[in-house]
Amino acid sequence: MRQPVPLAAALSLLLALGLVLAPGPGTAQAPRSGGVLVTSPLSATPSLSPHEESTIATVQQASPCFNNLVYYDPMKKVESVDTIIPELAEKWSWQDNYRNLVFFLRKDVKWHDGKPFTSQDVKYTFDMVRGAPDAKARLKVNPRKLWYEAVEAIEAPDAYTVVFRLKHPQPSLLLMLASGYSPVYPAHVPLAEFKNKCIGTGPFKLKDNKPGELVEYVRNPDYFVKGRPYLDGIKFVIIRDRSTQIAALQSGQLDVGGSGWNKTNAENAKNGAPKLTIVEADSNVNDNVLVNFKKAPFNDVRVRRAINLALDRKAYLIGPRQGAATFGGALLPRPAGMWGLPAAEVAKLPGMADPKQQKAEARKLLAEAGFTAANPLKMVVSTRALAIYVDTASWMVDQLEQVGVQATLEQIETGVWHPKMTRLEYQVALNLTGVGIDDPDAQLFENYHCGSQRNFSGYCSEEIDKLMAQQSQTLDRAKRLALVNEIDRKLQADGARPILGWGKQYYVHWPHVKNWAVHENSIYNVSRRQDVWLDK
């Protein structure tokens, strides 16, 4: 009975200390333009070189330093070919029936070290990224080499013109070049320097980079877009603990928070500080089930279908996703996505119908495959040891047990998660996949193509591979959409990486933060932040 007394006393002491030592409330008002925005990214970035990394954390923290040839308009919520705006390229033109993509570059651009930007920088960057034999630099890690496989040569006929010559038409190339993963690097700066430094042409210049602690930028006074950026600087503070991130936002130490937050986190933040604004948007990150095609009995289509049917999607939405997801196939569903299956078809996907009926069907299929109550299917459900993964994987275990499967959960440390998936050292796994751009080329080749290193389920279909190549070269958008939908239907029927749902993203910011743009169909292409300003 007396135990609460010392706790209360201790807390009172802490509060008193806090009150005595806390800085006073009177902080100077910043002007409407200017000011430094403080935010917390998803995590520390391993480097400031987007071409060598595969995490949104790098895109968030490096994008203010760089520019692309073209970029997605931050103010347009849904990215598409129609929302691409010029950056380093003033204009561009497809020629020779989408075999040549010509960029005409700006002539008033300088790198942060004062050197002029020219077409040689573009050629240097994309020769390096596509792994051209005569490239002047070589990336140690080249995650998006696949994106540029159709590029045969890059030519720089003069200082301000660049031509991408393609082996075959590929309309998606322009979309890939607009991604946050496609900035232009300076040819005169050694690649190794981007591990910890950044010389770009972007709206902000790197002021300080303390690896694992903070990345700080100041306004680039020579930025080629007149009047931008509005901010005097941006500070990315690495805060690992989610509760601390929320507290930092509520206390006003952060202007914006939310990277990697779920709905509950966002609502908790607002409950503690009602003036905060929550931004909810779709995202191109999906929860997917990896069923190992190379391991028995999961190579049996009946077992795969039973697993797919057992996972009641509506329960997933209510449970682990807390109402914050949309249903779809392999491509982000409409209206946020450009290439998803029609809603009527999504409603008929496995796991979407009456759960009792679907679970009964799952039991029947398992019985046909030889798994009964006397001889139950035993499986390990692997997942990454992060809360956002474990919550859904735990729910999966429960759902599978409801159809008589004896499932156990295996949490895998982040450091060995991808190696284990790449080597197919699992039976069934719960995975999260984010796609750089909402485009079939980026999504399908990476995750479903035979032999792709991110095809973690080991799925392989020659027919699908052919259709993928066909859609990639189809210039008519309507025809391409029809092809993409056909691929998606087949993928769902094959149980190739069943999609549980597409999660929503949350950002929470104070009302004084203006123009903090969020895109509905990608989290990767909106981090330049040159239009953000502070109304305080």
């Binding site: 802490l14 595969s54 140690k140 890690v141 805060i239 603990d241 507290a247 930092a248 290193q453």
Partner: protein, 318 residues
């Protein structure tokens, strides 16, 4: 005494050598290495590139060679390069050391400043309300994990006053007041548990000492309570307390990992966990060795302190 210290240093050397071997083996037993993590998380693995990077980092060599190289580098004072950040390991570790050191020293300071006096008061006022109150405080300290207390502090502060300590590190050389504001609460969160332990040990040893004949004699001679308790009794009761402080200082690092994370302090404890996740061998090995050295030296310092506290202890003749 000199012979004793020399002997202890020699034993410490052997201990550290064993520690280095253990560390090295444990790190290699963990599945995967930095190249696995870098390449496979990128989703694109060019085997030639991977082998090139392994050669560049020296992790393609036989384990014996790798271990020998590391020891040789340690002897020369070279700590190698962080695989993850491509920076000299010392450059990565150096700015983080003062953060952890300050937190550890402040936490120990709290522990001793709260634990010893409260333990003495509790013993002297045995069976009275103050004794019961202090015992409850100490029991609460032992029951509350540092990470939970840290979280409660943060949440209580933000909910009640809308303020929490700075999330970016403030150096004491830049702004001492702001630095202390930033460190006091985390130090209290870490130090509370230790202070509770110290309080209990101090109380029990003081109770024993207060029953000794020489204390009774001092009371009989009419000496003042302060003199009897703080000078005669406490000095003789302090041997186990000093031992405990030494051990606690060594174990403090475990509590610091979480506290540094919750209060977002860029210290070595938190960084060590990151480095383990990324298999950043030079950082993990050298940091862990640094911690081992601190533990060994803390224990040695405690032993040396014994001779000052109790002149009857003669290490040289043992």
């Amino acid at each position: 005494m000199r012979t004793y210290v020399a002997k202890r240093l020699a034993i410490a050397g052997v201990t550290l050598l064993g520690m280095s071997l253990l560390l090295f083996v444990l790190m290699r037993l963990a599945p995967g290495n930095i190249t696995d993590i870098i390449f496979e998380s990128a989703g694109y693995v060019d085997e030639a590139d991977r082998h090139r990077l392994e050669a560049e980092l020296g992790i393609d060599k036989p384990l014996v060679v790798q271990y020998g190289r590391w020891l040789g580098d340690l002897v020369r004072g070279e700590l190698g390069k962080s695989y993850r950040y491509d920076l000299p390991a010392w450059e990565v570790i150096k700015p983080r050391l003062p953060v952890t050191l300050e937190l550890a020293v402040l936490a120990m300071g709290f522990s001793v400043l709260l634990g010893v006096p409260f333990g003495v008061i509790s013993a002297v006022r045995r069976g009275r309300p103050l004794d019961y109150a202090l015992r409850v405080v100490s029991l609460a300290g032992l029951s509350m994990p540092a990470f939970w207390l840290a979280m409660v502090i943060i949440l209580t502060l933000v909910r009640s006053v809308g303020w929490i300590p700075s999330m970016t590190y403030v150096s004491p050389f830049d702004d001492l007041r702001a630095n202390l504001v930033q460190f006091l609460l985390p130090a209290l969160a870490v130090g509370y548990r230790s202070s509770a332990l110290i309080m209990r040990i101090t109380r029990s040893t003081m109770l024993e000492v207060l029953r000794e004949d020489y204390i009774r004699t001092a009371w009989a001679k009419g000496q003042r309570e302060a003199l009897v308790v703080w000078r005669h009794a406490l000095k003789n009761a302090s041997l186990p307390v000093v031992t405990l402080i030494g051990i606690e200082f060594a174990f403090l690092i475990g509590g610091l990992v979480v506290t540094e994370t919750v209060f977002n302090l860029p210290g070595v404890a938190r960084y060590l966990v990151d480095a383990i996740q990324f298999r950043d061998y030079p950082i993990v090995q050298n940091l862990a060795m640094l911690i081992a050295v601190v533990v060994v030296l803390a224990n040695l310092a405690v032993d040396v302190l014994y001779t000052w506290l109790d002149p009857r202890i003669k290490y040289g003749s043992a």
